[in-house]
Amino acid sequence: MDWDKIHLLMDRYFEGETTLEEEASLRRLFNSAAEIPEDLKKYQPLFTYFEQSQHTVFPTTKKPFSKQFIPWIAVAASVLIIFAIPFKSQQQTPDEQQLQQAYEELRSNMNVMSTYLNKGKKQFAYLEVWNQTTQKFIK
């Protein structure tokens, strides 16, 4: 290693005359395992500081919402399970057939309703045309 050259480079560095490439080479040197002469070694903390500071990242560990509420989510879930178990066993007692019947009835009712809804929706198509034609005149 040509230490005289490094000394000159350091002088130029402190004068603010070095290029980015030269500064990068200084950073590499001071962050390497190289044996650095005593008079230059004192500047080592500066370049290790620069090297480390490049890697400072935005702190993402701060998640107050999720961390604060995780225990409560667990509590809510367990309460739900405790209440749901007896409820579920009660529901299984009514006759299956009766349930099926109720379901079919609901289904047919929904079908009828949806056909009416669709009929109504078709009427809106006319509205769209009306909008387009009026806009021509309003503009």
């Binding site: 560095y13 402190f14 004068e15 603010g16 980015l20 500064e23 990068a24 004192k42 500047y43 903390p45 500066l46 290790t48 500081y49 620069f50 480390q52 500071s53 490049q54 400072t56 990242v57 935005f58 702190p59 701060k62």
Partner: protein
Amino acid sequence: MPLAIENNFVDQIEALRDKIFRVTKRLLISSDEAADATQEVIIKLWQLDQNDRKIENMEAYSMTIAKNYCLDRLKSKQANQLSLVENQVTKRQTGLERTLDYKNQWEWVNKLINDLPEKERMVIQLRDIEQYEFDKIAAILDVPQGTVRVYLTRARKKIRTQFLKIQQHGLG
């Protein structure tokens, strides 16, 4: 709006977030304040017009917004008080009587740079840590390149003086 452009913009901001944080932390000192400032800067970038979002130099632009935001914050009394408190804490931790071990060295350099005037601090951050060319730094700080060089030289000379000082005291 096309989803591709939107995603691209999110990626761009994501990539800049750490940089914005480092710069705001350099000016505001406190990590909490810097994290808040980073969020604010990102919101400002997000609110940009569709056309402005395609700014080629989004990076330099975000740095300018970050700098302006922090300088405004520093003007307010509250931020000044916070940074004062933090400075006292670091002062206590890095007594010069102590031998400078690795962690103390880091804190000593950190304090040394943070004690520089805002503009010199900013130039050191942008040059020595973010490694920007002079023209980019000039654009971010909105000053001529010559002025950037003056700030940088001044800052580095002060740093050197401090390093020579601890050597004279037989520490380091």
